[in-house]
Amino acid sequence: MSPDLWSLIWDILQSKLFLELVFIPGIAFIALFTVIVVWAERKILARVMMRYGPLHVGKVAGILQTIADTLKLLFKEFIPPRRAHKAAYYLTPVFVASVPTLALTAIPFSKDWVVFPSDLGLLIAFAVFALSPLLAMITGWACNNRYTVIGSLRVIFQDVAAEIPLLLSALGVVMLSGSFNLVNIVESQRRLWFAFLQPLGALVFFIALIGEIERVPFDIPTAEQELVFGWKTEYGGILFGLLMFGEYITFAAGTLLFVTLYLGGYLGPSFLPPMAWILIKMGILVFLLILIRGAYPRLRIDQLLSIGWKWLIPLAILNVLVTMDLIYFYPWILGG
């Protein structure tokens, strides 16, 4: 091999893009997040329920349980339904697992640590979020099962109810920072986090986010008590693993987005690097969401729709109006 190739490889290895794609927020981060959060979720929920949770695999508190489970899923047979659309059945889990990672490319982990720096970063994240119900619908349809079809229809309903307030409440943040660029949004929170300037917007965003990432109390599409496992019913083995993986990446992207928009993203005292701050804030949010799973039952789809349309959307619009007034009458709120 020629020295040119070596230097090229060396350059690639040294380049920031490579580091971003491999470590944060790339493969290593996603894999580690999934492994740790699945374990933490099981452990925290177990403590809420007064049990032990994973205990034996990996000596210390069963920390390797997720890896053991993944290995188990890898060796399991998956049985496609006879009447399923085979290509869609096999392909969609791959997309479900890979598409949400695109949302991570827009998130700034420090001032100059963004995979895809763009002036429309926020819109990119939302566009990626909007893709996932489409994939869920294809999955449910491809399985050709009555439970999965009902499940995928619920995904669509839920998305309509959750996505609009999500966007509308984020509008307040955009108005305050004057930019769709997520780095600018974070930078304009140096004085005060937007969670304090926009408590209503943050609340609406938080509730809509739970609906968007399909977690309890809004895990309606996978309601196992009535729909066996919703649109994931027919999957087994590593295909099911991929669907779960996709779910947790959406979880990561959603929490990171909330942290970036309302909790000052990577900002924090300088004794820790910015990347640590965003991860700490994200960890707290993840803990809160796990705790919510331990404290509430699931709601019904009509209740989610009425919450979405009758409460979240009007509140989000109110939030936008109040923010407009604030900016008009008290321009000093923008800083500068």
Partner: protein, 365 residues
């Protein structure tokens, strides 16, 4: 396409192999999210216990009779034993009566806690599942002290109860009951008074007072609709005459009211158990009973955790009864399912079923 396939095309099965259904099936038709129609389909666990009783002596039938509803073993057992005692004309010692009352209330609590856990599970609330099962464990330990086993008690037999109170039982029972009263409050804050749980159950599966009586509802389902009927008060057996307790009733007759009735019943049961422990005299717990049944017939009513359970026993002189007919509450309540499901959504189905607290083994016998 065969007739069976056609039926399966038209109807969606909820059970018998399903995360939440239990050993029964509900066939339902939907239009999107709306439930159009449903058929409760039972019979997957039929064991022919009525027939089994005809081949057992009055003592050896009890383990089988208990398995009608093993979650509620003592209440079912008492119903059978009451009918037998009526036939044999036996008077039960006072202490045995009190111990029977204690055991029945203990079983009512374990059964209701089991239902709480299932109700939590079908609402997607697994924390409550674990908590309620944990509390149930305390009562299983208490029952094990008295009857020397944890679930299948076989404690109440013709002539009294099998074992006397062990040493240190009273203190242990009071410790557990006091602790459980506190836990019940926590369970109320966590589950029964949880706004989201109320949203899930309020206004779902309304059973009006008139319909509840007309369709023959039983137990907490009947009382949830506002009918103040309880065999323990109407026709007191064991020592229920001597203890002071109330019958909780609902107002609107929806799933939430049924849940609250069961919650309040647990509180009343604790009250009864405490009174019984205070009243416990010394003396015998069992009298000798003859083995041969005289000819005749007997009918007994007992308020089990799921409602009134009836035994009708005919005897033609012999060690075995000639015929035993059992009317179980789960069967009565499950037949209401079609009526209360009108205008519900698919997501309500598990809530509807479990608000009636059916036990498939109980309805199949």
């Amino acid at each position: 396409m065969s007739e069976k396939q056609k039926l399966e095309e038209k109807w969606i099965s909820w059970g018998p192999v399903h995360p939440a259904s239990g050993q029964m099936r509900v066939l339902f038709q939907t239009d999107g999210e709306n439930l159009l129609d449903l058929i409760p389909d039972i019979g997957f666990t039929h064991r022919g216990i009525e027939k089994v009783c005809e081949f057992r002596t009055i003592i050896s039938a009890i383990p089988s009779v208990e398995k009608i509803c093993i979650l509620d073993a003592s209440n079912v057992d008492l119903g059978f034993v009451k009918a037998m005692e009526e036939l044999l004309n036996i008077r039960v010692p006072e202490k045995a009566k009190l111990l029977r009352t204690f055991m029945c209330e203990l079983n009512r609590i374990t059964s209701h806690l089991y239902w709480t856990s299932l109700m939590g599970a079908v609402a997607g609330f697994y924390t409550v599942l674990m908590w309620a099962i944990n509390e149930r464990e305390l009562f299983l330990d208490l029952g094990a002290m008295l009857s020397k086993t944890r679930v299948s008690y076989i404690y109440i037999v013709p002539g009294g109860v099998r074992y006397d109170v062990p040493e240190g039982f009273k203190e242990k029972a009071f410790e557990i009951l006091d602790y459980f009263e506190g836990r019940l409050k926590t369970l109320y804050d966590m589950f029964f008074n949880n706004k989201l749980f109320e949203m899930r159950t309020k206004g779902v599966g309304v059973l009006k007072k008139k319909d509840a009586i007309r369709l023959g509802a039983a137990g907490p389902t009947l009382r949830g609709s506002g009918v103040k009927m309880d065999v323990r008060k109407d026709e007191p057996y064991a020592a229920y005459e001597e203890v002071d307790f109330e019958i909780p009733v609902g107002e609107r007759g929806d799933a939430y009211d049924r849940c609250m009735v069961r919650y309040k019943e647990m509180r009343e049961s604790v009250k009864i158990m405490k009174q019984v422990l205070e009243m416990l005299p010394s003396g015998r717990v069992k009298v000798k009973t003859p083995w041969i049944l005289p000819p005749g017939e007997a009918f007994s009513r007992v308020e089990s955790a799921r409602g009134e359970i009836n035994f009708y026993v005919v005897s033609k002189r012999g060690a075995n009864p000639y015929r035993v007919k059992i009317a179980t509450p789960s069967f009565k309540n499950l037949s209401l399912l079609r009526h209360i499901s009108k205008g519900s959504l698919v997501a309500d189905l598990p809530i509807l079923v479990f608000s009636l607290d059916p036990f498939p083994l109980d309805s199949d016998r």
